[in-house]
């Protein structure tokens, strides 16, 4: 019997007026060589001849597969069941949801029905966001929050109606809610088709390629500069900047390679957790201590560093050097160039209930313990976990184990062999009110 490739499905969500129909028409006109089926729940204005547009009445119901009960879309099961019979398979299926739809049932349909799971795979969930109205919508409805949390791609549309600063703020807020998604800005849904189709969005490697820092831990500091200093008295000089004060830890005997920087960063996290010593302009900065430089007086401010043996120091600062035009000068007034500079993913406030958690750990995982942990996590918190994906290094397995999930549904399989690459684990969860610390501890307990 044939085992044909699975037909990729994209789910297009977004509130009424966010530009779904415009984007859909754009995709269909640009991909005119392909056989594309569009399943809609609202009578849209899709007017492209070669696309098969199917109207279906949204039919949501609870379905159980023995152990898990969740909502699915019955109309999709029927329509897709018929579409998959054609010998000349569709290249692509697009499911456009109604503005107020929760994307959960659509995504879950592709896990729950055996026949659908055999023939189709979700390529990605694309959420259109009306930049001018999303803030209001987020305040008013759970659906818009869920649409953002579920997305693989967030198209921030109608950017011409919002000023640049507000847009940056909005984008930061959306990224906070969903760190897994790629954010694309557009004016009239004029994004390139590649950014919304054939994403292989459930492939975490691609996500990492696009945003290699997103799994990095967050630090209470943003910037590190490493300076090689002889014996003497040095002046740390700062101009006016965004804050009336800045925290800093000076590390002595600082190495310049990445491992040394990370090691000191971990050490500094603990220092940052301690109460800061207040340092005013003209005062000396102690080494190895959490200090808080007072910067509220106007103009340039100078602080002092004293070195009694030649040493390399690392400055772990709350803000980047540029923000305060930070300069280090010696007694002769010559500026000392930093040997190495590095920025860190800074911690920031998470205002929304919905957020992302990323876990990255080296080593192997005990399959039984992982199974028990995931099982418990999903049964207790599955309602609040919108999406998850990642890969795992299972003890005794030669291949990476990749997984993805929607709410309580979990689907995983072996992927490429580890070969010589270091064995490690990466997991991303997007959900509501997730307890990051207990999830991290839960996963760490599975490590061998």
């Amino acid at each position: 019997m044939d085992t044909p490739r699975k037909v990729p499905v994209s789910i297009l969500t977004g509130f009424l007026g966010s530009g779904k129909t415009t984007l859909l028409n754009r995709i269909l006109s640009e991909e005119h060589g392909k056989r594309i089926a569009v399943i809609e729940n609202e009578y849209g204005e899709v007017g492209i001849d070669q696309a098969l547009v199917i109207n279906a009445d949204e039919e949501i119901f609870e379905m159980s597969n023995g152990c898990i009960c969740c909502t699915v879309r019955g109309d999709l099961i029927r329509v897709l069941g018929n579409l998959m019979k054609r010998r000349d398979k569709f290249d692509y299926v697009l499911v456009e949801t109604t503005g107020l739809a929760d994307p959960g049932p659509v995504a879950q349909t592709f896990f729950m029905d055996d026949e659908i799971r055999e023939e189709f795979s979700i390529d990605g969930i694309v959420t259109l966001v009306d930049a001018a109205h999303i803030e209001q919508q987020l305040g008013r409805s759970d659906e818009s929050t869920e649409q953002i949390a579920f997305a693989d791609v967030l198209v921030l549309n109608k950017t011409d109606l919002v000023n640049g600063e507000a847009l940056d703020r909005l984008e930061a807020r959306l990224r906070d809610m969903n760190r897994m998604a790629r954010v694309v800005r557009s004016e009239r849904a004029n994004v390139s088709v590649d950014t919304v189709l054939n994403l292989g969005a459930f492939d975490l490697d691609q996500v990492l390629e696009r945003r290699p820092t997103f799994l990095e831990p967050e630090y209470p500091f943003e910037w590190t500069g490493v300076y090689s200093l002889d014996i003497g008295r040095y002046e740390l000089d700062l101009a006016d900047g965004p804050d009336p004060a800045m925290s800093l830890v000076v590390v002595s005997d600082q190495g310049t390679d990445d491992a040394a920087l990370r090691e000191s960063a971990e050490w500094c996290v603990r220092r940052y957790a301690e109460p800061a010593e207040i340092i005013r302009p003209g005062e000396k900065i102690p080494v190895g201590k959490h200090v808080n430089l007072q910067l509220n007086s106007p103009g340039r401010k100078s602080f002092f560093l004293e070195v009694d043996t030649p040493v390399r120091v690392g400055l772990y600062a709350e803000h980047s050097a540029e923000e305060f035009d930070l300069q280090l000068t010696n007694a002769e007034g010559a500026t000392i160039r930093q040997e190495v500079e590095r920025t860190w993913v800074a911690q920031h406030e998470h205002d929304d209930e919905v957020g992302s958690i990323a876990i990255e750990r080296d080593g192997d995982v005990d399959p039984k313990m992982l199974d028990a942990w995931i099982g418990e996590l999903l049964s207790e918190r599955g309602v609040d976990i919108f999406r998850m994906k990642g890969f795992i290094s299972l003890a005794g397995e030669s291949h990476r184990f990749v997984f993805q999930g929607v709410h309580m549904l979990f689907d995983g399989q072996p992927d490429r062999p580890w070969g010589d690459s270091p064995r490690r684990n990466q997991l991303v969860f997007i959900g509501r009110n997730l307890d990051e610390q207990s999830m991290r501890q839960g996963f760490e307990a599975c490590l061998i």
Binding site: M1, D2, L52, I54, N55, A56, D57, E59, F61, M63, S64, N65, G74, D75, I77, R78, V79, N82, K85, R86, R87, D113, D114, E115
Partner: protein
Amino acid sequence: MNVASQKGVLRRGWSAAVGDYAIAGGWTLRGDALVVGDAAGGVYAFDGKSGASAWARQGAHDGGVLAMTIHPSGTAFATAGQDGRVLIWGVAEGQVKQAIDIGSSWVENVAWSPDGQWLAVSCSRQVRAYGVDGAEVWRSDDHPSTVSAIAWSSEGELATACYGRVTFFDAPTGELRQKLEWQGSLVSIVLSPDGDIVACGSQDNSVHFWRRSTEQDYMMSGYSAKPSALAFNETGTLLATGGGEAVTVWSFQGSGPEGTRPGVLEFHVQPVTTLAFARREMRLASAARDGTVAVWSLERDGKGRSIGSAVLAGIGAELYWRPDGRALAALDARGGVTVWRIG
């Protein structure tokens, strides 16, 4: 195209091919012809004895055929498709006698009443009845969700299934006669010949049935897959169900099937896709996703034994016994049409 191998009562007959997945078909002209519709929208007729092509009409339904029903006279049939149309055909000449535009949605079900007077059609949440001339007689109000299956419970009454409900309509007037409710996604419907028992396959791997006279409902669960294939025998004593690799047969004799053990017929290695009882006989045919076809001889308690088997080139799609029970036609996913004589 492989010629299927066969064993037991299944004797070599003929095989032919249509253009795509063979969706639906039926014997016409008392078995002198077999008509078939495919997923590419083509409609074909074959000589019942030789399999020679009588006529072929490609692209009759833009997007594909979804359903077919044979008029009881055997001289006409109707097809429904993704193009939102119903076509009424003359068998002999292969001409469309009536074309009915239903709307822009798929027309998923079509069924002629047992007396041939009414043609029932479902599209989206609505069911409509047409006369033989293609004129609309009535249309229902919207169902709570899309109508997933329809069946005639008697000459004068139509049954529909949708999410959460089975509804009965008076055929000449469209008046609503009875509603049987159950919160489940019903995917198929079958009625006992006396119209009293209505059984539905449900998306949640169960079969739900009601005795209309008492409005009592019952559920048979424990299936490993969705039991969309259902068939009653002619006396209404046996209900055969798919829903997994095995065929499960419930006996309605005595106080059954409640509290009884069904007959479990094991042969297929993938889920059963379609079931068909031969008329006047305790013979059941089954086909499965693995392409296997089996013929079973059943006992009154639902137990049975295989008396013939064969393998198709693709997933088994539909099975049709010739009205005299002396031949069996199988449609498959690769467009194969296979007919066996029954020994």
